[in-house]
Symmetry: D2
Subunit: 431 residues, 4 copies
Amino acid sequence: MSTLLLRRMQPTRALVHGRARPPQNVRTYASASPVSRFNWEDPLGSRNLLTEEELAISETAERYCQERLLPRVLQAYRDEHYDPKILQEMGDLGLLGATIRGYGCAGVSAVAGALITRAVERVDSGYRSSMSVQSSLAMGAIHDFGSKELKEKYLPEMAKGNITGAFGLTEPNHGSDPGSMETVAREHPQKKGYYLLKGSKTWITNSPIADVLVVWAKLQETGKIRGFLVDRKQCPAGTLETPAIKNKTGLRASITGMIHLEDCPVSKENMFPDVEGLKGPFTCLNSARYGIALGVMGALEDCIARARAYALERRQFKGNPLAKYQLIQKKLADAATDAAYGTLAAIQVGRLKDEGKATPEMISMVKRQNCDKALHNARVLQEIFGGNAVSDEYMIGRHVANLYVTQTYEGQSDIHSLILGRAITGIQAFV
Amino acid sequence: MSTLLLRRMQPTRALVHGRARPPQNVRTYASASPVSRFNWEDPLGSRNLLTEEELAISETAERYCQERLLPRVLQAYRDEHYDPKILQEMGDLGLLGATIRGYGCAGVSAVAGALITRAVERVDSGYRSSMSVQSSLAMGAIHDFGSKELKEKYLPEMAKGNITGAFGLTEPNHGSDPGSMETVAREHPQKKGYYLLKGSKTWITNSPIADVLVVWAKLQETGKIRGFLVDRKQCPAGTLETPAIKNKTGLRASITGMIHLEDCPVSKENMFPDVEGLKGPFTCLNSARYGIALGVMGALEDCIARARAYALERRQFKGNPLAKYQLIQKKLADAATDAAYGTLAAIQVGRLKDEGKATPEMISMVKRQNCDKALHNARVLQEIFGGNAVSDEYMIGRHVANLYVTQTYEGQSDIHSLILGRAITGIQAFV
Amino acid sequence: MSTLLLRRMQPTRALVHGRARPPQNVRTYASASPVSRFNWEDPLGSRNLLTEEELAISETAERYCQERLLPRVLQAYRDEHYDPKILQEMGDLGLLGATIRGYGCAGVSAVAGALITRAVERVDSGYRSSMSVQSSLAMGAIHDFGSKELKEKYLPEMAKGNITGAFGLTEPNHGSDPGSMETVAREHPQKKGYYLLKGSKTWITNSPIADVLVVWAKLQETGKIRGFLVDRKQCPAGTLETPAIKNKTGLRASITGMIHLEDCPVSKENMFPDVEGLKGPFTCLNSARYGIALGVMGALEDCIARARAYALERRQFKGNPLAKYQLIQKKLADAATDAAYGTLAAIQVGRLKDEGKATPEMISMVKRQNCDKALHNARVLQEIFGGNAVSDEYMIGRHVANLYVTQTYEGQSDIHSLILGRAITGIQAFV
Amino acid sequence: MSTLLLRRMQPTRALVHGRARPPQNVRTYASASPVSRFNWEDPLGSRNLLTEEELAISETAERYCQERLLPRVLQAYRDEHYDPKILQEMGDLGLLGATIRGYGCAGVSAVAGALITRAVERVDSGYRSSMSVQSSLAMGAIHDFGSKELKEKYLPEMAKGNITGAFGLTEPNHGSDPGSMETVAREHPQKKGYYLLKGSKTWITNSPIADVLVVWAKLQETGKIRGFLVDRKQCPAGTLETPAIKNKTGLRASITGMIHLEDCPVSKENMFPDVEGLKGPFTCLNSARYGIALGVMGALEDCIARARAYALERRQFKGNPLAKYQLIQKKLADAATDAAYGTLAAIQVGRLKDEGKATPEMISMVKRQNCDKALHNARVLQEIFGGNAVSDEYMIGRHVANLYVTQTYEGQSDIHSLILGRAITGIQAFV
């Protein structure tokens, strides 16, 4: 029994509460009804594939997200404001680094971990991004590649949300092609046992508020990519800057920034000992991508629920609800189908992941397809709202804007197509 | 252990052999390799979800289809010829009515039954249609609704393929709307214990060669739809005609026809005793539709395998194989993804079906989506062949033509959209 | 020779200047090069269809928009701020109500008028919306339906941009279905020759800053829809309120609001004398929609130009520019094709309009198709920018957000489908 | 006034007669009604752009095609039979090589020439292919590149349809990439003034029945591509073989074959004197492609007319015609829009062509887009017919199968994308 369950929240009256407009509960999350009739919220009965523990974790996460995150997100998105307390709240519930065993983490299945991301992304992809970076990228990197000392020092506090992490791989000139990175680490000319990091990273979630930053850089002596844990507290003034990128067109409820390293000294103990090349960052990305694959299904499901509620309430032409029109029904049917299919595929890959059978290409497939389909259907569902979608209070415009970003980060959709194409044909077509 | 396994064929050298052009084996079917690396033939490791028995049944069916059906299909399709021996061959292997328990049937799981349809449809949707009608519609109707006597009389011989069945529901003026059917059954004015059937059915697979025809008609006295087993041997001359429909644009390897009933006498014993209304035919259609959902994935997989092989072999522009081009790789990646997703969804619904949890709407969802995606991707993959696809020897044109039909029969795609729309919104939009 | 030409601006050095990022001129607008080679900015040589005067008007408008509007739009969009001086600037150049003859208006062709909207929308759909409302809806309504006195009183000052207009048709509960409007006009119980208007309008561009508002209301005595010119100066306190709608997800550079009329007295002279029913507002909408059809092509062309420039500059994988990749080239080819086709179609309808041959259904067709295609391609082109599109400085995210609104206002896309479907089949399918 | 008009056929009662099923006239072609109301057969009033002469030519061609070709096509397609008399009938009406001036040809505008192809393709793309090869490829090559003697010898008889031509460019291993052709011409070792041609061409329309074949081959001495007129009568036995390719999946009403040249002697007089390299064949292809661009709009318009007629006649669910349903109306609206847009674009390019301003990229654009859209919409419209589309008597299945071929020949769609991409970006992405 996971420790997570011990901290399970008590049920409350109103699990889901939308905005003033629309006021209705658009969806239920905690219902434990068995699979026995068609349920538009889970059309192909994916609940049937989950364990009791996974269902309980999912419910805990959904309740927190609907009760605590949903009321904040509209204003946060408007203001491009991220409340750092959110990670602590998640930490209190055991939601951070949940698939890690030990170090104060819950040690749940890959599927359970992804159910948490789905719950968060049902509210907002930005909130999910912040959590993914903390859990899969920062904690994941430390757990998979850090020394025993690093793990013991950082993971427990990160699991509580007391230390915020970031992950620096992407550079201004190298997005889809991280192998060409320019950030370098060279031996400190004076201070033995230290490296000096120099370079810039961009589009780094959490970077402006991060306490620790996993930074990938080329070791000058070998030309090989290595990972470093940069602890902000240990950086002399002027060697680390993490300015925020403002005026974003999506993911505005999370905070994104750059990392500028100007001969920032990092001790050798903070270099990951045994991993070299792109294997390191790609392992972490793989876990994060897996979480995204199920996560975006949460955003899509929220769009479905909101569009359905709107279509049932809004009346045009002789008082018929929009839901009566064939063109509307087809949009809902298409979206529900893609949500159901994407959910099953993500669960399947999670099961294989726990069995050690999931390959990176499988994760490319579900990350790509689920992001593409979430974005596509969110846009189509947005049409149901007509002009009203222009009001951010209907929520769907925010999902649409966010989902564009999910499609493009952690492997842009076309790049994943070429990864799959290579796996299918044995021939690479990147250049 | 199913009887089917006892009749399992011995392995042979060449499980798959394409046409002279292209000569290469485009795919493997019998490989028992475990899920551990990315396999373009099963990208999301669906094999992992199958039992040993299901894998064995699938292999038996695949081997038969590749060795015995594939060599015949090209000429059969050209000539619009269906070889009635095929059903007997399938019967010998235990492939007919395989999910039925007893009566000489294999009694396998719903998923196993669908793996058989997938194997057949990998060769040709027409061959699969003929088998589906025999298994799910004709045998299914007799098994689910027939009296004990009817079952014992017909099912064992139908399982062997010695008696061929058809299923008459669709009428010339009533396709998507069977409730308006015009075929009637009235009490025989002279011969007690008999009904007279009058009306026409159309687009009836197998009808010209069928020995027994399940016919749905409105009982004159009640106006309710009832099912009748029409045994051709018992029909007086001139009361039953089953002309073939020729010059079809798809499914040419199966035989399709009409059923004209002109006061055809049928004994009361041949009326299904306990089922009234559309529930009867819809139950049978539900099983058939389920089989189609996994079946069309076989056709799509064959298109992928053939397109991939062609792309690897065909060279244009400085000797590069087509497989090197991004636009080609994307087509393959998209198709492989849809095949993988559709396979998982169909397996999931099959599992729920065996647990009694699959609703008709779930089957609408997987039937609609998988047919739509099989057709769409087959068309896109066809583009890889360029002008060569115009030669029927490349096989893909036939799949494209066939898959159009699968999308439109057993519930046209838009109709299933509205079934799903009704299930999601609670409001019907058919009229 | 139109008066517009007399006020033509002098050429300047830099006609187009993008943001700091990307710095390059992404497109040329003033080039008078003849059609003789393939020009990606006008792939099917639409310039060949334009008169000298139209080309000159287009150049004047483009220059103003690129020099004066483009530098303001980024901040305006961020702040949801609309600078009322813009209409005066446009008025100075003769761009307002340009197709109206007399009353100080330029009296140019329908195509010339649409070339102006295209120039404005190349910068921002919000700026274009504000201008369309002033020109086609407010001035258009007064011109087409107002008394001689109203025209002489208002049109010259509106043409100069000294008086700002709005157009109130849509109501909170009646978007696609204006015939069900609830706003009413009843005879003033005390003040003879006056009506009292009561009701609410929403999603009204310009309403918070409008001096005059064309309001459509049902006349209580007849139940017929009539048009009223509400002059804010003449409204007693508390009878007219026009609150802004904030936190919009698109068109943030224009100002949008509601109109609340609480027994607002309007004199009979301000009621349009000779038009009754939906013919009035639909005539105005028709002109506005026509302008949108060519307008959105401007936004799409800007997306193409920016995506092309980015693809040529951005390098990934061995230093190749993105423009070298097939998947990128296809996106550009598709978008350029749709822009070229949409431009030709809009010009054709404009020509027919001037000949009195354009029907509302033709305008539905080009409005629907061009908005759909502009939005679709803008989204696809956005993918070329990868994660960088999240920065608003790349401009494309703003176009994507704006174009969603153009697809949904002035007749949502599906509604236009049904208008076309009715015209094609003779059967209406709205209910 | 073109000679074509002199041979104009007399009006008849029934210009259009479909099959027994459906019996109704689905469309009018000869109507001279002015553009003044919405006409679903010409939604954007393209007639307004045509001259009187062009309208008359179009009517002549449409009448011939509907009266003489339509009744033959169903059986011809079933049997893969092409009646060689068809070219003579077309010749009698002046429809062959119609844009050529002199040599007994009509000398009409490029648009008029394309209106003829549209009329023919409204019946069948195969019939149009045969005519395009005769007119644009064989006659076009002789006219553009042949010596005065060749022109005078062949063109008048080809214009009458007494001599049938073919055009040999594509080879078995070189479809999209003709520059790699393997067919060679070397000086005859014995017979002075002669070349020996050796090599194979495939997918050559008309080849089995052609009297003269334009063959492109690499001159051994220079390695440059040159054009040869191969006159079958002059070929010694065994040096020229033109076997038919049977069992085609599309274009079955035209005849397609290979050309095998086995040291076939051709006199130097039959080599085109002044053209070298791919410029020669590409010039001819350009004209043919232009004809296809408007031609396929004819096939699409026929699909629209037939789908509309079917939707109005077929009733399902409480007696409503299919045309009443939103999902049906949207399909019709989309198709009508694409047909209208494609028609305008093709007319525009034709006008530029006559002015010497049309570039190959423009023709790539309209060929690609119109073929893609014709195919896509034909497939969507086919869905309206449900299962009935499987009967070839409803005609639409044939159009769907044909249009696939038009998309892939004369430049496969993706290849044209890359031609456009290169024109837009200045960078080629073929390899």
